[in-house]
């Protein structure tokens, strides 16, 4: 069913859902959703508010149990998936505790620990990975600052660096650019393209706006309880929808689907 982008290679899917159904109480949220992500793909999952994007993501990551259907992360059931460093996750901006004293470096180190094990003593090479992740998002100079003291865009970059620090094969991001300034968006796009091109990683970006990332996408999936479209952006554009950076068409078109 899927149309893969130019840089994609034919491998087993890194993440795969098949015929997923999910409901909160009796209200159906997902109905027969099938989707797979392969190495080297940059996939955007879009849809209007309440279309089930975040729910699908949580099902895919094993945070929610589907009513029916099959979920595979790196070929296994999410509950049995152990090699967690291969999966990078940037959640919707978490509500940080008002008094959280954690520094940027401490937060990003958590990402490295997910790859190395929570009881492992980090080696100098691990420290370098953390530093590299911070440099990738342009925050090396702020490593010792408290995360709470940073702007929204900088905080989002910290969480992206945390995900990058494990050198993931699959990076999953939930609404990462909502409310983020243009400079942070550009940094963010560069980090993602670096990951896809240099490390053959796959990116799944969940968003209702694509901003500067639009031009990098290989495949776009439009969701409204079911998958309405799954293919290259050009094909969606041919239907009259613009993914343009400055235009508002996509969000408006998506809202029209509600």
């Amino acid at each position: 069913m899927s149309v893969t982008g130019g840089t994609a290679v034919a491998t087993d899917p890194l993440a795969e859902v098949e015929g997923i159904a999910f409901a909160y109480d009796s209200e159906p949220i997902l109905d027969g959703v099938t989707l797979s992500i392969r190495s080297g793909e940059f996939v955007a999952l879009v849809g209007p508010n309440g279309s089930g994007k975040s729910t699908l993501l949580k099902v895919m990551l094993g945070l929610l149990e589907p009513l029916s259907g099959r979920v595979r992360l790196f070929g296994v059931d999410p509950g049995r998936f152990r090699d967690r460093g291969r999966l990078g996750y940037v959640p919707q901006r978490p509500a940080l505790g008002h008094d959280l004293p954690a520094t940027v470096e401490e937060v990003v180190t958590m990402g490295r620990l997910s790859a190395r094990g929570w009881h492992t003593r980090l080696s100098p090479a691990d420290r370098e990975e953390v530093e590299h992740a911070l440099e990738t998002v342009g925050l090396a100079a702020l490593a010792q600052r408290r995360v709470r003291e940073l702007s929204a865009g900088q905080q989002q970059r910290v969480f992206i660096a945390r995900a990058l620090a494990s050198r993931p094969s699959l990076l999953v991001l939930d609404e990462p650019i909502a409310g983020v300034d243009a400079e942070s968006q550009r940094r963010f796009r560069d980090s993602l393209t670096h990951l896809v091109h240099q490390h053959q990683a796959a990116v799944l970006l969940v968003s209702h706006e694509l901003g500067v990332v639009a031009e990098e996408i290989d495949r776009i999936v439009v969701l409204r309880r079911r998958v309405l479209f799954d293919g290259p952006p050009d094909e969606l554009v041919r239907t009259g929808v613009s993914l343009g950076i400055h235009q508002e068409d996509l969000p408006l078109w998506l809202e029209g689907l509600r």
Binding site: L61, G62, L63, R82, R84, L87, Y89, P91, R93, P94, L96, G97, H98, D99, L100, P101, A102, T103, E105, E106, V107, M110, G111, L113, S114, W118, H119, Q144, R146, R148, E149, L150, S151, A152, Q155, F159, R162, S166, G179
Partner: protein, 283 residues
């Protein structure tokens, strides 16, 4: 040892106090981040019921308190994690049920109220070698557990959902923190008493969040403030005959106040960060 720690009872008090002064803020660092600053109070009241039950049944009240606290803390965590009650509602349930159970149990055994008084306000100057051995053992358990699980606990308090995706056994980490809280309460009971039990978990952390610049720094400063409060509190109690447990807590509160004043002047008070955030900062 030099004055004022020249007497055996002062040395025992210092040993017990230092273990609690150093360890309680380590646990408190995580509780404050989880917005469960008052869980120590809730569990303290369960401990009180445990003490009353122990006195009534003729077993060492501290053991009875330990069992009651561990079960109580796990139940609070179970209610919170299961989404059946918010953290503070679960806490309130055990806070009131604990104190009510203690009152009922005291009523069953005439003459128990005099014994209970020392647990209510602490009696650090009368701790025995047996008490110090138990408190020391609890201290070792806390330090070893944090050495093994501290980083996973940090990941969980920063963002529980991310930690779950990153493979942290979140339920086990939260349960461990609950158990550590329970045993810290039991260790602190003879030092500051049930009524002030949470103070040593929270007040030094309040000061440490201003003085420290990281999670690790906050834990270090918290322990330092806790230990300082114990030493100064004990000295003041010896010199002026003050109630030692309460004096220790007042010292911790004073350090918090000074740190807040100094930190506030330097623009490092957490509240200012919150105010700054509303001006276009993170939501």
């Amino acid at each position: 040892m030099p004055w004022p720690f020249d007497r055996t009872y002062m040395q025992l008090a210092l040993a017990a106090g230092m273990v609690v002064g150093v360890c309680a803020p380590l646990i408190g660092t995580f509780l404050v981040q989880k917005r469960m600053s008052l869980i120590g109070d809730g569990i303290g009241h369960v401990a009180f019921a445990g003490v009353a039950a122990g006195l009534l049944l003729g077993v060492w009240p501290v053991w009875a308190a330990l069992v009651a606290c561990v079960l109580g803390a796990l139940a609070v965590e179970g209610l919170r994690a299961g989404g059946r009650a918010s953290g503070d509602l679960a806490l309130a349930l055990f806070f009131y049920a604990g104190i009510a159970a203690a009152v009922v149990l005291v009523g069953l055994g005439p003459g128990l109220s005099a014994d209970l008084f020392s647990y209510l306000f602490g009696s650090i100057l009368t701790v025995t070698g047996q008490d110090v051995a138990l408190i020391g053992g609890i201290g070792v358990v806390i330090l070893v557990t944090l050495a093994v699980m501290g980083r996973a606990m940090t990941a969980v308090v920063i963002d529980e959902e991310w930690a779950r995706v990153a493979g942290v056994p979140v339920a086990a980490v939260n349960a461990s923190l609950a158990v550590l809280t329970a045993i810290t309460v039991v260790a602190a009971m003879p030092v500051v008493g049930v009524l002030l039990i949470a103070a040593l978990m929270v007040l030094p952390v309040g000061a440490a969040q201003i003085l420290g610049r990281s999670v690790r720094g906050t834990m270090g400063w918290g322990s330092a403030v806790g230990a300082f409060s114990v030493v100064v509190g004990l000295v003041a109690a010896r010199v002026w005959g003050l109630a030692p447990g309460a004096t220790i807590v007042l010292m911790a509160a004073a350090v918090f106040a000074v740190a807040a004043l100094v930190g506030g002047r330097r623009g490092r008070l957490p509240l200012q960060a919150i105010a700054g955030e509303t001006e276009g900062g993170p939501s």
